[in-house]
Amino acid sequence: MSTTPADIEVRRIQPLPSRSGSGEPLISIRDLKVQFGKVKAVDGVTLDILEGETLGLVGESGCGKSTLGRAILRLTEPSGGQVLYHNRDLAHLSVREMREQRRHLQIIFQDPYASLNPRMTVGQIVGEPLDTFKLARGKEAERHVQELMETVGLSKRFINRYPHEFSGGQRQRIGIARALAVDPQFIVADEPISALDVSIQAQIMNLLERLKQEKNLTYLFISHDLRAIRHVSDRVAVMYLGKLVEIAEAKTIYRDPLMPYTKALISAVPVPDPEVESKRRRIVLEGDVPSPINPPSGCRFHTRCPYAIKQCREVEPTLVEIKSNHFAACIRISPDQPDIDIVAPGDAPGLRQAGPTLA
C-alpha cells in the first residue's frame, strides 16, 4: 500500500508558551479530590507545579501521591477539583480534548516489567506515540525512535528486541524514551527508580536530570525514597493520608522540616555513615498509618504525632507559609513560632496567628 505525502496527516506542533523555565505555574492543582468508594485517596490538594522545576512528591504507602500524579493526567478520574494547564481544566476535558493534551503531558511508570507491552518490540513501543499523535511515519519515525533510544543510552541495535530481553534499568530507559517520543512539556515520573538496583538508580537519576536540561522539561517526581527526592528535586511536597502537609525547597525540607510528620520521615532515613548513625537522635513513630477509609479527625497525623495536643484532634490544619516559601500544616507552629520543639507545651500558636495560606 503506498501513501503519497498528501495522505499522511501530520499534525503541526502547536506553538506553546515559553519553555524558558520561567518559574510560572505550569500546572495549577486546585482542591483536587480522588475518591475510590469510601477511600479518600486524595482529599483536597492545592498545589502549583512551576515551569522548569522538578517537584518532588514524597510520602509513604497510601498517602495518595501516585493517585495524585495519575489524576493530573486523568489516568485516574478526579472526584472533584481542578487541574489547570494552559487555561484549560484538565479535570473537565472530554476524552478527545484530553488526548490532545497528552501530547504535552507524559508519564514514566514505576514497574519496568509491567509497563511495557511484552508483545511489542522496543521500536514499536517507543514508536507508538508517534503514530498515535501522527507525528511521524515510516522511515522518519524509525529514525526518530533510534535517536530517542540513543538519547536514553540504549543502543539502536536493540530496536527489534522485546522487553524481556532487557534488564530492569534498560526497560526503564525504554519507558523514558517512550515518554519523550512526543516531545512533551511535563512528565510525571511515578516511582521511576524504586524497582532498580542502587547503582542503576544513580544512572537513571542522572539521565532524567540531563534530559530535563536538554529538553526543558518539568517533572513531578513521585517517590518514597527521600534520598533520591532530595537529590533530584527543586521543591518537595510531602503528603500524608491524602493531604499535603509540607512544601518547601528541597534543601530546606531536609535541613529544617517544620511539621512533625516530615521531621519523623526525614529522621527515619538511614544515613550511610556509621559515625552519624551512632550519634544522631532518631524520631521513631508509634503505630501504623491509619486507614484512609476512616482517617483520624482534625489533623490526620495526630494519632502518631509526638507533639499532638487536644486541639489537634479537633482542628484540621491548613498549609500556612511559616517561613519564606516554606508551607506547613500544623496548628502548633506559626510564622512567629516556627520551631515546634520550643513551643510551650499545650500551646497552638497556629490557631491564634493566621499566616498566608495556599488558597
Binding site: E60, S199, R227, R230, K251, A268, P274, L285, D288
Partner: protein, 343 residues
C-alpha cells in the same frame, strides 16, 4: 583466616551453583565469612550478588535441584552443617538459626491464623503443649510490639499491615530464642518510618536476648546504623569485608567505593550523582578476570585477564582487587581518617 573458637558461625569457601538452561550459574562461588557471638554482620550486594543464596545455603534451604551446595564448610558452633542429615538440620533450622524474609506476605501462610503459625514452632521445636504454646505466642507478639496482642493473636496475616506482619515474622523467628537470626532484606518492602521501627526492634531484641544477627541488605544506610562488620558481595564473591566504620571511612575496593558514592547524601548539595556504569554481571557467563572489570573506573589489563587476589589490608579488612592496597591508601587520604594499619 582464623580459628573458629569464639565464632558462632564460620562459612568457608562456600560454593552454591544452579543448573539452568543458560548453563551453570555460580550464584555463590567460594565465599568465606565469620560471625562472632553477639555481633551483627551486614551482607551488602545488589541483585545477583549471591547475598540471599549464601544465607539460604547456611540453613540449607537451597532447592535441589536445580541448586546444589557444591562445596565448602558451614561451621555453626563447631559443627559443619553441610555434614548433617536432613533431620539434624531441621532441629537447627527455626530453633537455633532463624530467618526472616523480605516480603512478609509471601512468608506467612495466608490460610493459617497467626496463633497457629507461632504455636507450630514451639510445639515442634520445644515440645510445648497447646496451651503453653498459645500463651507463648501472645507473649512473643507483645515482645515485638503488637498492640492488643491477646485479641489479635487469632487474626490472619491479611488483617495486619506490612509492618505488623514483619513484626509477626520476627516474633516467629525469635520464638525459640535462636542464637543466630538471619534477616534477609527485612525492611525493603516497608515504608521508611516503619523501617525505622523494625530496625529499632531488631536492635533492642538483640540487646535483650544476645542473639547474633546477619543482616542482608542493599541499603548502605541500614548497614551503617545496624552492623559491626560488613561483607560486600558481587557476582557470587566476597569483594570486601571490614569492620563497618572502617569500610565506610576507608573502602579498599572500587566496587565498594562506587556503591558508597552512588547513594545520594541528604546533607550534600545537589550535583551529578556518581554512577557505576554498565550493568550487574551475568553470573552464568563470567570471563576469566575480575567480574567487576567491565564496570570498574580503574580497570587495567591485568584485571581483565587474571582473577584478583584477596588482599589483607588491615587486621579484619580484606579486599578482592589487584590494586586493593592503592585503593585503600587513597581512601584513607581522602577521608583523612585515622585508621591505623596493623601489619
Amino acid at each position: 583466616m582464623s580459628k573458629s573458637k569464639g565464632k558462632l558461625l564460620e562459612v568457608r569457601d562456600l560454593c552454591t551453583y544452579f543448573e539452568t538452561e543458560d548453563g551453570t550459574v555460580k550464584a555463590v562461588d567460594g565465599i568465606s565469612f565469620a560471625l562472632e557471638r553477639g555481633e551483627t554482620l551486614g551482607i551488602v550486594g545488589e541483585s545477583g550478588s549471591g547475598k540471599s543464596v549464601s544465607n539460604l545455603s547456611v540453613i540449607r534451604l537451597i532447592p535441589t535441584p536445580p541448586g546444589e551446595i557444591v562445596s565448602g564448610e558451614i561451621i555453626f558452633k563447631g559443627q559443619d552443617i553441610l555434614l548433617l542429615t536432613e533431620d539434624e538440620v531441621r532441629k537447627i533450622r527455626g530453633r537455633r538459626i532463624a530467618m526472616i524474609f523480605q516480603d512478609p506476605m509471601t512468608s506467612l501462610n495466608p490460610f493459617m491464623k497467626i496463633s497457629s503459625q507461632l504455636m507450630e514452632i514451639t510445639q515442634l521445636h520445644l515440645g510445648y503443649d497447646k496451651s503453653r504454646a498459645y500463651n507463648h505466642a501472645i507473649k512473643m507478639l507483645e515482645t515485638v510490639g503488637i498492640p492488643d496482642a491477646a485479641e489479635r493473636v487469632d487474626s490472619y496475616p491479611h488483617e495486619f499491615s506490612g509492618g505488623m506482619r514483619q513484626r509477626v515474622m520476627i516474633a516467629m523467628a525469635l520464638s525459640c530464642e535462636p542464637e543466630l537470626l538471619i534477616a534477609d532484606e527485612p525492611t525493603t518492602a516497608l515504608d521508611v518510618t516503619i523501617q525505622a521501627q523494625i530496625l529499632e526492634l531488631i536492635k533492642k531484641l538483640k540487646q535483650d536476648t544476645g542473639t547474633s544477627v546477619i543482616l542482608i541488605t542493599h541499603d548502605l544506610g541500614v548497614v551503617a546504623g545496624m552492623t559491626d562488620h560488613v561483607v560486600v558481595m558481587y557476582a557470587g564473591k566476597v569483594f570486601e569485608q571490614a569492620p563497618t566504620r572502617e569500610l565506610f571511612a576507608a573502602p579498599g575496593n572500587p566496587y565498594t567505593k562506587g556503591l558508597l558514592r552512588s547513594v545520594p547524601d541528604p546533607t550534600d548539595e545537589q550535583g551529578k550523582l556518581y554512577q557505576i556504569p554498565g550493568l550487574p554481571p551475568d553470573v552464568a557467563h563470567l570471563g576469566p578476570g575480575c567480574p567487576f572489570a567491565p564496570r570498574c573506573a580503574r580497570v587495567e589489563e591485568i584485571c581483565r585477564k587474571e582473577f584478583p587476589p584477596f588482599v589483607q589490608l588491615n587486621a579484619n579488612h580484606f579486599s578482592l582487587c589487584h590494586f586493593a592496597g592503592d585503593v585503600f591508601d587513597e581512601s584513607r587520604k581522602e577521608s583523612d581518617s585515622t585508621i591505623e594499619t596493623e601489619q
